[in-house]
Amino acid sequence: MSEDIDPTMLLLHFLRDRLKLFGTKEACGEGECGACTIVMDGEAVNSCLVLAIEAQGSEITTVEGLSRDGELSILQQEFINGDALQCGFCTPGFLMSARALLDRNPDPSDDDIIEGLSGNLCRCTGYRQIFEAVKRAAKREREELSRS
């Protein structure tokens, strides 16, 4: 897609205000909470720290892009199965950090998961069920891959 934008516009605000993709949240605006995490060219980034023009030519995935044809991804399914969310405001950010982690490392150790998700803050869940959900999703994704 192509759009004319103010060069000072943040990628976060481009997604939310211009494209009306409200799944990506803002909770600190300083890159400290991870609520605005998206996947940009395979890397999890805080979209509040990226200018929209820096994303020129990049491939961006937001939470809205995780499901295909109305079918939830394994990661989303595991978040539901494991009750890995409560208020849900940090959930898109966690899903995107986890997506980037599993794309980079399909077989993460416990420490890899903790390291990969420790930049995302959640105040409700205490993290345990997010951790478990990502672990189970990794396993299922690997199984799926070996079947196909």
């Binding site: 799944g23 803002e26 939830l72 989303q76 539901i80 409560q86 959640c122 993290y127 069920q129």
Partner: protein, 804 residues
């Protein structure tokens, strides 16, 4: 048989006979709102947009206390795109939950650093931000009231007019010519006699700092004032829309029915979104801007600086105990450094007089609780308020008493815990239906593997390895703080396809209310969960009333209201079905979507065929749309007597116990929580998956309060850590290695299926349990939170055994 035993046996039998095999209750259903939340399609107030919407920004006071000499808004007003600029000169409206003590904008004087001095509404956020920077304010800096002791001296008054502040009379007691926003008291027995009976008397002081709620969605609201009708429409991240509507009406001097409050999904609340916050200010901006809708969303820094906190607290406790470990007297004073305005703070203070003794039977006791104004960001409700703080005092004191007497802390507690037949601090009778703290203690202590405190020799041996381990535990008890006549209500409507729409007045901000209400409806109507749809979001125009969504009381009150609404629905269906089937109502039963004849279940009529009234084959119709309602009002609760504190405050006491294993690095002071065992007497688990989630979340929030979090102010009460960089909350790295929840189910006979609330409870004595474990590991008693690496390491380095 004594009266006590008789009572125990009789209620115990009722509890034992309680039905416990349910089709839907207790089952680990998925969260009903999970699909929207994992796909990014759940909409929050933060995401709300209204056509023609303006954006607001606020100018905050940089000083804790200053005289506002002049405000010049001319440059801001001249900026293109600015539609409204307001200051304290433009408004003389007071706002407040229990005490109307706060101006919408600071007037004449600022009372905390972060207070709103002026605000702008403009066509874009950037313009509003620029306009705010163009407002010129001249301040005359005044000496602020910093800390409890200075506030109690009353040389400087935060509110000169304290005696004239409009407040809820008979419940809160502001003290003239002082900084005491409310003085609350309770007492039982006779202190002098109690201390005379004691073999040992121990006096200690415990304290903890202010902390932030940190909902991941900051406070956000949109207001639109209609200049033609005078009506106001609000979209807000509030957790209590009906209370908000009532307070806003009171502040603006208009009718409640002229205000509409809509609350979509809320991104975390924890008490910080109860009460009223941004709404009056943006209502005024909308009016000033000719009726354009105005949105204000707070930055994280504003969340720390401008929005309310949990109050800092100091508890002074003197306990008299006999050689055998029986506590016979307790004299306690709780002082709350509550900041510039009362908000919920006075209610936190009031809570301490009924909850502040701990779950113990102590015959002679006195609690004095003072909510104190100081010049800093004000305080409000925060998860388990009045209990986490007082349990930090009581459960540490109990542990230290057992150390001094050389009694095992488990045995010490067993000797003193409340049991059926005892009276609580305010004179409530404990029955088996109240639940059992003893069951919780036994279960948690067993799970953590408690075998007694370490010996000094064991500690010394371990110390040499650089890492020491310890075990500690602490009781939990908490009852909702609420007006004695608080109410919840529910409306149900049968749909033509047999599905049921349920409208609630409570807000699901993650605790799982939508799912719990669905399960109860499914249970009562005997329908599958997929056929129950709780309407998302609450709108005061259409949804039924609910006092507030706070205090872990919704499962109990909303649950009971749901049962009543569903039974009313069944009753209405039986009325019609008895005509259709030509069978007396008494001969009818319901199940699986049908009303049927008990004698011959093939004689039946489907719910869906009666949804909008039943039509006979010839076209005749009877009945009408099936709409039912149910309510629950707290039963037999009373206000507390001002002098003695006696009365009935508790809808339900939920008892519990947290036990922890920790490892402590003796050089860095870092505490690692290895295992937590948490037992709660929740009466009846409504949804196993969601109670588990509450425990996991509450425990980590408790760890935050214990070892990480706290506001830091400079000598002039200017906040030094208004960001996540310096005011940290736990991350995934702080997750304990193992958390084992234990559910005790002694039913409460007036709860829904015997259930009590279990939400805040999962957090509130984690700090005490960790403090007790630190003693077990190190032989050092810490009296002040948080137990950060810095505080712990400095404590160890000092070589002292008591760190205040």
């Amino acid at each position: 048989m004594t009266h006590k035993e008789e009572l125990y046996n009789c209620t115990y039998q009722s509890c034992k006979d309680y039905k416990s095999n349910y089709k839907h209750i207790g089952k680990p259903y998925e969260r009903k709102d999970a699909m929207e939340k994992v796909t990014g399609s759940a909409r929050y107030a933060f995401d709300a947009e209204v056509p023609g919407m303006l954006h607001a920004k606020v100018l905050h006071s940089p000083y804790a206390r200053a005289k506002i000499v002049s405000v010049d808004c001319s440059k801001a007003k001249a900026l293109p795109g600015v539609k409204a600029v307001l200051t304290g000169d433009d408004s003389d409206l007071l706002v407040g939950l229990y005490m109307e003590d706060k101006w919408v904008f600071a007037k004449g004087e600022t009372r905390y650093q972060g207070e709103a001095v002026a605000a702008v509404a403009a066509t874009t956020e950037a313009i509003a931000e620029e306009a705010v920077s163009l407002i010129e304010v001249e301040y005359e800096v005044l000496e602020p009231v910093v800390g409890l002791d200075k506030a109690l001296e009353a040389d400087i008054l935060v509110h000169e007019n304290i005696a004239e502040i409009n407040h809820v009379e008979g419940v809160f007691f502001p003290q003239p010519n002082s900084n005491i926003a409310s003085l609350n008291k309770s007492r039982r027995g006779d202190l002098e006699t109690g201390f005379a009976e004691a073999d040992h008397i121990l006096e200690n002081e415990f304290s903890l700092p202010a902390v932030a709620h940190v909902p991941i969605e900051t406070h956000v609201a949109i207001a639109q004032y209609n200049p033609f009708t005078g009506r106001i429409k609000i979209i807000s991240s509030a957790q209590s829309p009906f209370a908000l509507r009532q307070m806003l009406a009171s502040t603006l001097g208009i009718k409640e029915s002229d205000i509409e409050v809509q609350v979509p999904y809320v991104g975390g609340a924890f008490g910080g979104k109860a009460g009223i916050h941004l709404e009056p200010l943006i209502c005024l901006l909308s009016r000033e801007a000719g009726g354009a809708p105005v949105k204000l969303k707070l930055s994280r820094e504003q969340e720390f600086n401008y929005m309310a906190t949990r109050a800092a607290m100091r508890g002074k406790i003197r306990t008299g105990v006999k050689n055998d470990g029986t506590m016979v007297a307790a004299d306690i004073v709780y002082d709350w450094d509550s900041g510039a305005y009362a908000d919920y703070g006075v209610n936190v203070g009031k809570t301490a007089v009924y909850g502040g003794l701990g779950p113990y039977e102590i015959e002679n006791a006195s609690i004095v609780s003072r909510t104190i104004y100081t010049n800093k960001v004000y305080s409000t409700a925060y998860r388990g308020f009045g209990h986490l703080e007082t349990l930090w005092t009581v459960e540490r004191q109990v542990d230290i008493l057992s150390q001094k007497l050389g009694i095992d802390p488990y045995e010490f507690r067993m000797k003193n815990l409340l049991k059926a037949g005892d009276l609580t601090m305010t004179g409530e009778l404990v029955t088996p239906s109240t639940g059992s703290p003893i069951d919780c203690l036994q279960a948690a202590v067993k799970e953590i593997g408690w075998t007694g405190r370490k010996s000094e020799a064991e500690r010394e041996r371990e110390w040499k390895t650089g890492k020491v381990r310890g075990t500690g535990f602490a009781m939990v008890h908490k009852a909702p703080a609420m007006p004695p006549n608080a109410a919840s209500s529910i409306i149900m409507q049968m749909q033509g396809d047999g599905h049921v729409k349920v409208m609630v007045g409570g807000i699901d901000y993650g605790q799982g209310l939508i799912t719990a209400v669905s399960q109860i409806t499914a249970q009562e109507l005997d329908l599958p969960m997929e056929m129950i749809e709780v309407v998302r979001g609450v709108n005061t125009e259409t949804n039924p009333y609910d006092w507030n969504t706070v205090a872990s009381k919704y499962a109990f009150m909303g649950g009971n209201a749901t049962i009543k609404a569903a039974r009313n629905m069944v009753d209405q269906m039986k009325d019609i079905a008895s005509q259709i089937l030509r069978v007396s109502k008494e001969s009818l039963d319901h199940g699986d979507g049908y009303i049927f004849y008990k004698h011959d279940p093939s004689v039946r009529v489907a719910y869906k065929d009666m949804a909008y009234g039943y039509a006979y084959p010839n076209g005749n119709g009877i009945g009408g749309p099936l709409i039912s309602h149910g309510y629950f009002t707290a039963e037999r609760l009373t206000n507390l007597d001002h002098e003695t504190g006696q009365g009935t405050p508790a809808l339900a006491w939920t008892f519990g116990c947290h036990a922890v294993n920790i490892e402590l690095d003796v050089h860095s002071g870092e505490i690692t929580v290895l295992k937590v065992a948490s037992a709660f007497d929740c009466g009846q688990v409504l949804n196993e998956r969601m109670v588990y989630s509450q425990v996991m979340g509450g425990v980590v929030q408790g760890i935050g309060s214990a070892i990480l979090e706290g506001y830091k102010f400079d000598d002039n009460n200017v906040l030094q850590n208004p960001s996540f960089t310096d005011n940290k909350i736990p991350t995934m790295k702080d997750m304990p290695l193992e958390v084992v929840p234990i559910y005790i189910e002694n039913p409460q006979l007036n709860g829904p299926y015997g259930a009590r609330g279990v939400a805040e409870h999962t957090m509130i004595s984690i700090p005490s349990a960790i403090g007790n474990a630190v003693y077990d590991a190190t032989g050092i008693n810490f009296y002040r939170l948080p137990l950060t690496p810095e505080n712990v390491a400095l404590g160890i380095k000092s070589g002292k055994k008591d760190i205040y």
